[in-house]
Symmetry: C6
Subunit: 201 residues, 6 copies
């Protein structure tokens, strides 16, 4: 599992799943906050994101700005600091709402300092209240996760019926969580706080 | 009535009615305010909203900014805090003025802390002075509300004649309020303040 | 005269006249100012306004910003408060310069707290110095005013010759003022200050 | 000479000359400054101006911002006050650089409080250093000025040869000044300061 | 040499050379800084400049903002003052990177108060570090300079071989400097400081 | 090696490698910071950069803003100072993510005051966490580097297999570093600090 583990070894990166022309693929959502010393403000979204995906990033950010304190996230860290959300590879256009959970998780990881678990990938639209809404391509996405060595996958509860389409042998090697609120995603996907603290020590 | 009740269980979400290619449908308008600690300002509108629907959100917001205090809403809460209005699903384009009452109600619910009643859905354009102006698709919208288990529907007074087109058996199971001012909408749709307080306790 | 009277019963709404595909029609220009507590600033123009009509709103606003004090309007009320001008219906595209006097009157009504008279409708381009410039469609506009129960109409002085085209029986039931300066419009169209005060008491 | 005299009776309005589809025409450039009490800032350009004509307005403004003090204009009046330049009629598209002198004159009139002489019309591009550059359509413009009852016309020095094309009888009734610096324009076109003072008294 | 001398008689104007449809031509880059009393800020670029030429102006400005102090230019003068760069004639579209040296020189002249020599014209792209990069049309540009009575021309060092294409009799009447750093341009093209002081006295 | 050495002789310039219509080519990324005295702020990107390449510059900047302090770069220097990234030649359109490492290196050189080594060129996409991602055109880029007299080339680790395509005689004269984190790039490409200090003395 080298790639996803490496990519998510620092806080602020979460592993998502996308449908591409050639089946499914793993993608990484990266988030950063400018050092307050730099005086940089505003929101930057890169990775050739389409309109719907840019809106997903805005929803993820507003969700955390409005409800982050309830989740015990230090939302004051967002104040007067530029936020950047990037989805490599830089030249490949991407769109759709299904990276909503991944974007929310990357940002929550960044704020909490808790890295995302390297064995977890996820897909799902997020609403402004944190509901996880259904997406397409569950089969291709789980196949891609499996190929990439991922062992735990989070999908929207309303997509549970789509698991029937996933080949038995792949399904058997994946732990799938069907979730309806993004808080469940964060509970499962973020490394425990003590891991983050150990890493920081 | 699980879906609408769940979606509107928190302040800031109202149930609307839309005409789609395949008849009518229920939609949810979600509103959020950034935590003042985050320092975020401005207005964000998402959900692939067309020009007319974006203007509806601006009208809803200006209505509350100019007349909210008369409605005993704490409009000072809007100061220096980013407002976000989102209409899932994220990838489906939406347009038209008929979500005006729903947007105003979602925002008033958010400001007041009073959740919107889960058995209520609504449709209607709102003017800047709070008048409820007529819309199209009353029949399809009431059928959609009925299918979704909604029992109370608010429509513009000037659309009352359109009720004749609604099948008798559907009409019999819906309480319909024909309203001409958005204050009537708020009076009917927002849960009583003591419910909100009980929920907060 | 129910519609125009109702619409103009609060300060900030003026009745205009437009040429549409189907003859003439009455339209309402609504203006609002954000409560200073909300901290909202800027100018918002809605109602699917075309470029020329948006410029008319900017001219109306600049006229009042530069000359409002001479008219004894409390222009300081414009400071640090968001102004919104809306022309329902929200989904109908509108354009042209002839709503200039109506926009200026709606804004002056809002600033002064004096409602616009419910029996008055108006049409005319306004220049930045307050001159009322000629417009088209006088005949259709007066017919529309008459149909809507309006009894007093303001038109540009340079459009006086067009009154010959208005059927005698309509012309007889309308008081028409041909004006050359927007101050004349305000003098005629705004309810006397004591009416506003009585209403506020 | 009623029209031009009336239009230029207040400071901030200058009479220009344009080439139109139907020969030449007189146009009026109007300028206003927001009352400082309104808190309005920024620059607004209206009248369906094309790109080149918008640039002319920016050049006129920058010329006065950088060199106005040398001309004994109170340029501090521009600080923290919205400037609006409008060219009626509102629905007619206009373009080209030849209103540069007219725009500069309207703004200088506004700043100085000295109305522009009602018998004067002008045409000419202005550079950022105040040079008056040549324009087209001298013949049509002088004919239009003459028709409008104008008796003094300012043209660029480099357009002097074009006067040969103007019919003798028109030429005889016009005083033409061929100028090379916009200061000459202001010297000729602005009413003497004592006139402005008398008017203000 | 009347034209170029007149145009460059004030600080802030530099003579450039362009290739046009009809051979080469002389152009003037004009720069101005708003009087601090006007409170105007920002950068304005006019003259129907294409994307590449607008970028040249930004590069010229950034070069001076970052390295101007090394050149003993009073860069603090740029603070809180609007900068305007204009290239007449206002209606003629212009593009390309070869006015970079001319823009840098016009701005340096403005900051230093040293007028540009009236007998000098120049062409060359400038990089952000002040390197002078090669351009096209050397032959046409030198012919145009010669026709305009210019006696000294600055070209990029890497364009020196192009001088072979210039007719002998023209070449003989021009002093050509092949430069590789924009500091050389400023050393040659700006009038000595004592000239500026004499002019100001 | 005159060209690359000259171009990179000052801090803020790094040598990159691009694929062009005619094979590969060397390009220079230049970065500048406005003198704090000028009061200039914001980010400017020039050189006819396409969308993907502009995003690369934003990623490079965000990387340094968020992680620069860990790299012992004085990121506070970015505060309240305009940043400009330019890629000559000004008229040639450029795009693609592969200048990411070059942009990051130019900016890090600028911040640190350490010039980039004149014998080093580089290519590679950079992610927001500083990972070096694979790019295309390794063969053409190395041939171009070799032609330009470069002796050390940095490529992404995941492009190491592409070295097989490079002719043996070229490969033999180049030191190639295959890197996976942009910190490795900075370690290799920036001149030692004492060189910078010596240069400054
Ligand atoms: Ca999708
Ligand atoms: Ca669960
Ligand atoms: Ca609709
Ligand atoms: Ca009612
Ligand atoms: Ca019209
Ligand atoms: Ca009158
Ligand atoms: Ca013209
Ligand atoms: Ca003269
Ligand atoms: Ca060129
Ligand atoms: Ca030299
Ligand atoms: Ca590339
Ligand atoms: Ca290494």
């Amino acid at each position: 599992l080298p790639e996803a583990r490496q990519r998510t070894s620092v806080p602020g990166v979460a592993t998502g799943l996308a449908v591409t022309g050639a089946g499914g693929d793993v993608l990484y959502v990266e988030a950063s906050l400018a050092d307050p010393e730099t005086g940089a403000t505003g929101v930057t979204l890169t990775g050739q994101l389409g309109d719907v995906m840019k809106e997903s990033a805005q929803i993820a950010l507003s969700y955390l700005r409005s409800r982050g304190a309830e989740l015990e996230l230090p939302v004051g860290s967002l104040k007067d600091r530029s936020v950047h959300v990037h989805v490599p590879a830089g030249a490949i256009p991407k769109d759709g709402p299904s990276a909503g959970v991944t974007m929310t998780t990357a940002l929550a990881s960044l704020l909490s300092g808790r890295p995302v678990r390297g064995d977890v990938a996820m897909t799902g639209e997020v609403s402004l209240t944190g509901r996880v809404l259904p997406i397409g391509g569950v089969k291709q996405k789980l196949l891609a996760a499996h190929r990439a060595g991922i062992t735990t996958v989070l999908i929207p509860a309303r997509n549970e019926p789509d698991l029937d389409d996933v080949p038995e042998e792949v399904r058997a090697e994946l732990t799938v969580h069907a979730v309806s609120d993004v808080r469940e995603v964060l509970d499962i996907a973020l490394s425990p706080a003590h891991v983050a603290e150990a890493a920081a020590a």
